[in-house]
Amino acid sequence: MNHVLAIKQYSILLVLLSISACTTVTIDQVKVTESELLQGESVVVIGRRTGSDYETEPELISCVGKNLAKGKQGINVIPETEFVDRLYPWFEARTAPSHIKDLHRLLRYDKVKAIFSDYNVHYIIWIDGNTEKTRSSGSISCSISTVGVSCFGFGTWDNESQYEASIWDYKTKVQIGKVSSFAEGTSYVPAVVVPIPLIATVQTDACEAMALQLQTFFTSPSDIITGK
C-alpha cells in the first residue's frame, strides 16, 4: 500500500516538474538570393555585441550553433569562441565588420583570408538581440519551523526574446538574407508549501525556432547538401 502511495507521489512530482509554461514564437524570413552549402563547407554563428544596453547572449549563439549542427543535414558549425580567438583582433565587439563591405576590406589581408580558407567558411550568421524580463509581479514567502520549510504565495513574470540573424555569403560577399525571431512567454511559480516553477523557456524556444528556420534556409528544394 505504501509502495503504491510512493509511486503516486513520485508521479505527481514528475508531472509537475515536466510541465512548463507556454511560449509563442514568431519567425520571419527574408531571402534575397539562393543559398547553397556544399559538403565540407562551414558556417560560423557570431553574436553582435555593439548594443549599448543589451548584449547578445553567448548561450544563445552556442544554442543556435548546436541546433544547426544536429539537424538532418548536420551543418558544420564553427564555435564562436574558437573563430573569434583565431581571428583576434578582427572580430571583437568593436572591430568586427558591421557591413559586408567591411568584411570585403578585411579579407584583403592575406592572413585573415587564409584562416577563412582553413575553416572553409561559406556563410557567416550574425545574430543580434537579447532576451529580457518585461514584467514581474506577485510574491512568495517561505518560513522555517520545527516541521520544516514551507512556502506560500504566487509569482509570475514575462520574458521576451527578439533576435535577428543576418546571413552573409563569404564567397560572393553579399548578404543573402535575414531571419528574425520574436518569442514571448509567461512563467508562473505557485507555492503552497512547496513552490512549483512553471518556467517559460523563451530564449531556448527562440533559439530552436531560429535554428530550424536557418536550417531550411540552407536547404533549397533541390537539396542543398549535394555532396558535390
Partner: protein
C-alpha cells in the same frame, strides 16, 4: 583548573580565527583570469623593450565605497599577460626592461611603457540593465632608444557581459574584464600604425637607409595591413 583555562584559551583563539576568516570571506575579491589569443597581424620589424612597472603589474582596484559589492579587483597579472601576447605578435622582437632609459643595447628601437589611468565598473543592480560593465583608461607611451618620447596617447577599453542564471557576480565581472582587456589590445593593434607620431617616427627610420636595407620586405607587408574605417577609439 589549569587544563580548563588552556582549553578555554584554545577555544577563544579558534573562535577568533574563525571570525577573521568570516570577515575575510565578506570582502569580495576578483582575480582576473582569461585567455588572450595571439593577434593575426604582420609583426613590425622593430625591437621593442617593454617596461611594466610594479604599479602596473600588481594593479589591483580597491573600492572605497562601502555600499558597493565588489571590494577588490586584481587585474595586474591579466593585463601583463594581454600586453605581452599582443606586443609579441605586433613586433619582431620584444624584450623587457626595468625602466625607460638610454639603452646600452643598440639594437633596441623603442620602449613601450603602459600606465593604467582609471578603472570603473558597474553592476546590474546599479544600472538596472542586466549587464556587468567595465571601463579601463590606459595611458600608453612610446620612447625611442635614447629615452625621448615618440608618442603618448590614451587608449580606452570597454567590456560588458550579460547576467545569466547560475552565473556568479565574480565570474560575470571577470568575463567583462577579459572583454575589456581584449578590447584594449584590439584598439592598440589597430591604432598603433595610424598614430601620426608613430608614422612620423617610422618615416624618419625609413629615411635611414640601414633600417630599410635590413628589413625591406616586412616593412612593405606592415604598411599594407588593413584597417576598419568605422572603428572609433
Amino acid at each position: 583548573m589549569k587544563i580548563y583555562m588552556v582549553t578555554i584559551q584554545k577555544l577563544a583563539k579558534s573562535i577568533l580565527v574563525f571570525l577573521c576568516f568570516m570577515l575575510i570571506g565578506c570582502t569580495t575579491k576578483v582575480v582576473v583570469k582569461g585567455y588572450f589569443p595571439p593577434p593575426v597581424v604582420d609583426p613590425l620589424p622593430l625591437k621593442v623593450a617593454v617596461v611594466y612597472d610594479t604599479d602596473f603589474s600588481n594593479y589591483s582596484y580597491k573600492e572605497q565605497d562601502e555600499e558597493r559589492e565588489e571590494k577588490e579587483i586584481s587585474m595586474g597579472e591579466a593585463q601583463v599577460e594581454l600586453f605581452t601576447t599582443v606586443l609579441e605578435g605586433m613586433f619582431e622582437k620584444v624584450v623587457y626592461a626595468n625602466d625607460v632609459s638610454s639603452s646600452n643595447d643598440p639594437t633596441i628601437d623603442m620602449f613601450f611603457y603602459p600606465i593604467i589611468d582609471e578603472f570603473q565598473y558597474n553592476m546590474p543592480v546599479e544600472t538596472k540593465i542586466n549587464m556587468f560593465e567595465v571601463w579601463i583608461k590606459y595611458h600608453l607611451k612610446v620612447y625611442d632608444a635614447h629615452g625621448n618620447i615618440i608618442a603618448d596617447w590614451i587608449q580606452t577599453a570597454y567590456g560588458k557581459t550579460p547576467t545569466a542564471m547560475f552565473k556568479s557576480k565574480e565570474k560575470a565581472l571577470n568575463e567583462a574584464m577579459v572583454v575589456a582587456l581584449r578590447d584594449v589590445g584590439a584598439g592598440f593593434i589597430l591604432r598603433f600604425n595610424h598614430l601620426p607620431e608613430i608614422q612620423h617616427w617610422i618615416k624618419q627610420q625609413e629615411q635611414q637607409s640601414a633600417f630599410i636595407n635590413t628589413h625591406p620586405k616586412n616593412y612593405v607587408a606592415v604598411s599594407t595591413a588593413p584597417t576598419n574605417q568605422h572603428i572609433v577609439y
